[in-house]
């Protein structure tokens, strides 16, 4: 089932007297393709959870429309939308066993949809098998680990065959190892069921690793939509460039002078297609190539060995932030000394307008 968000806007009245109303979601238009896993990504307060609530119907949009397939659901109450919802804290009913928790949505069916007891047990078991907790059916939530509880919550959301599955920060309450495992699990479950899934997270790594597409939001506004690699390689603005990637992108204040990209007095790249003037330069950590007579000089801070590769921490006068972090293959050895010199990979160097933060595209001069 594809989900269409059409100019979706949610405005909350101001909390303080005389304050301006808050635009939690601002003019969100996006067609979520059928059967895909979509990650809504952004810092806290960017409107991603509000968007999820709008899709589930727990909140009504101020403007705009929502379609599931060809049906408009904008004015449909949540109970008639057929969505499955999973919360960060799982919201499992603590007094019910796993079986009773998973059966709960099925027992709500009325009239012609009403299921027999055996049918409910069969479907509950099927959902439990999908998330691999069929051996724990008689346990209470308190007797299970966070990861297991999360699986029960997903099974409960899936058991009624929802048209759309919504997950609100599904992995945030799990420890690092479990998070890695559960997110792969999530991907597998989504692949097996083929249910269009939207999940909200503030963790870019989580979103990038399992999503078919990610939506990056900032202050209620969609900043970029695309496949994870595409968004990472080709950010449309400084916010997206900074938000994606660990370690984060290194940002410098530079300028363009006669087709040369300048940081301080050094011409680090030969480019064309950009008029002279100030410019913001973003360089991914993997965009640095260690070279003895490289064109870009930083003051060496320290070298962090990480086994597979090496992280060079240095400083630069025109840097925005504390330190420049560059990642180089572990075979390249940094010579001790005051300065470290690099050449830059043009594909990892992005230019942004110094005022608006919008991407400025350039060509590399051969």
């Amino acid at each position: 089932m594809k989900v269409v968000l059409d100019h979706l806007t949610k405005i909350y009245p101001s909390r303080t007297k005389g304050g301006s109303p808050v635009r939690a979601v601002d003019n969100f238009t996006f067609e979520i393709p059928d059967g895909k896993l979509i990650g809504l990504l952004g810092p806290s307060g960017c409107g991603k959870s509000t968007t999820l609530n709008l899709i589930s119907g727990l909140e009504a949009p101020t403007e705009g429309k929502i379609f599931f397939g060809d049906d408009e659901v904008t004015n449909l109450p949540p109970e008639k939308r057929g969505v499955g919802l999973v919360f960060q804290n799982y919201a499992l009913y603590p007094h019910l066993t796993v079986r009773e928790n998973i059966r709960f949505p099925l027992e709500n069916f009325r009239g012609k949809d009403k299921l027999t007891n055996e049918e409910m047990d069969r479907r509950a078991l099927e959902a439990a098998k999908l998330v691999q907790i069929e051996g724990l059916m008689e346990r209470k939530p308190a007797q299970m680990s966070g990861g297991q509880q999360q699986r029960v919550a997903i099974a409960r959301a899936l058991v009624k065959m929802p048209r759309v599955l919504l997950l609100d920060e599904p992995l945030s309450n799990l420890d690092a190892r479990l998070r890695l495992q559960t997110r792969e699990e999530l991907r597998r479950i989504q692949n097996e069921t083929g249910i269009t899934t939207v999940f909200v997270t503030h963790d870019q790594e989580e979103a990038m690793s399992i999503s078919d597409m990610i939506v990056v939001m900032e202050k209620g506004v969609v900043r970029q939509i695309g496949a994870p690699q595409e968004v990472y390689d080709d950010p449309e603005n400084l916010f997206v460039a900074k938000f994606l990637g660990t370690p984060p992108i290194n940002v410098f204040r530079g300028s363009v002078k006669a087709d040369k990209l300048m940081i301080g007095s050094e011409a680090v790249l030969d480019i064309k297609g950009v008029p002279d003037g100030d410019i913001t330069i973003g360089i991914r950590p993997e965009g640095f190539v260690l070279k003895e007579n490289g064109r870009f000089t930083c003051e060496l801070g320290r070298v962090e060995v990480m086994g597979r590769d090496t992280s060079v921490v240095s400083t630069h006068k025109y840097m925005d932030g504390v330190s420049v972090r560059s990642i180089i293959p572990s075979e390249d050895k940094v010579k001790p000394g005051k300065a470290v010199r690099f050449d830059l990979k043009p594909s990892k160097v992005h230019l942004f307008d110094s005022k608006t933060g919008e991407r400025v595209y350039y060509e590399v001069k051969k």
């Binding site: 919360f87 919201a91 709500n108 009325r110 409960r156």
Partner: protein, 295 residues
């Protein structure tokens, strides 16, 4: 070891007070209850035995008091808890003026028992000038006047139950509204998305979630109702035996200080009977709640 000693030292003042004012009197009650023919003036007694219990359990006044107390407990505890739950649900589902209504419902709690008794007298007691407000209402709908204070037993019991429920409700409402507010909203959101009917949300989610608080209120309600005394005095005056509205604690008090007083042994025996009843009911309550309260 040294720390241990220090700990005991800190506890000492409380222990001394508890020992003098609680443990010693408790032991004393047991002793009095088996001393036959004890005279508090001369501090003498005839012998040791169970005669005091025998006397108390045959005393028609005591049996009347037990009957009154049991009726009071059986009627007021479930009714007040149920009503408080209904009001709390109402309070937590309104948005506007919620604080104001919460305050209004809590007001009886901070009002003096005797002042409330006075109000109830105006409502129910016929005087030379007026039949009482409630009787005026009954007359309006064509019924005959009823003397609620000096009249038939059921009328007096009705007033006592009404009064007790009214007095204990605010505390229960306070506890239940905060219990309702502490239920995580996410449960309701998930239930809503799963199209759960409202009644099912109440019985399957809300009730189990606040069940520990309900059991707490039922247990303290039972104990409180068994200890009822001042409410009856506020309504019917100090001579409760004459009014036929005595309670067990009232009987104990009368045996100690009332017109027929000066019998600490009988009073102790009656108090121990009350203790046995409360202990049994609380134990049963706890056993039931262990089975039904889930976490």
């Amino acid at each position: 070891m040294k720390n241990n000693l220090k700990g005991w030292l800190y506890l000492l003042p409380a222990i001394v007070f508890l020992a003098v004012f609680m443990v010693y009197p408790l032991i004393d009650v047991f002793i009095y209850s088996v001393e036959e023919g004890y005279n508090s003036a001369s501090q003498t007694y005839f012998g040791v035995g169970l005669y005091n219990f025998n006397y108390v359990l045959r005393d028609p006044y005591f049996l009347q008091a037990v009957k009154n107390t049991l009726i009071l407990v059986v009627i007021t505890v479930p009714l007040s808890t149920g009503l408080a739950l209904l009001i709390s649900l109402g309070l937590s589902s309104i948005k506007k003026l919620q604080d104001l209504f919460q305050t209004i419902y809590f007001l009886p709690y901070v009002t003096n028992t005797l002042a409330v008794g006075l109000v109830f007298m105006i409502l129910f007691k016929p005087t030379a000038y007026s039949e009482g407000l409630v009787n005026l209402l009954i007359n309006f709908f064509g019924g005959p006047s009823v003397d609620f204070i000096d009249g038939p037993y059921w009328a007096k019991m009705f007033v006592l139950c009404f009064y007790t429920i009214w007095i204990v409700m605010p505390f229960k409402i306070l506890i239940l509204t905060s219990a309702l507010a502490s239920v995580n909203r996410d449960y309701y959101k998930v239930a809503q998305v799963d199209a759960t009917p409202p009644l099912r949300v109440f019985t399957k989610i809300t009730l189990p979630m606040i069940s520990p608080m309900i059991f707490y209120l039922v247990i303290t309600g039972f104990i409180g109702a068994f200890k009822a005394y001042s409410d009856a005095v506020a309504l019917f005056g100090t001579n409760l035996n004459a009014a036929g509205m005595n309670t067990i604690v009232g009987y104990v008090y009368d045996m100690l200080y009332g017109d027929s007083g000066g019998y600490p042994s009988y009073a102790s025996a009656a108090a121990l009977v009350l203790f046995a009843i409360v202990l049994t009911i609380t134990t049963v309550n706890l056993l039931v709640s262990k089975k039904n309260v889930h976490y």
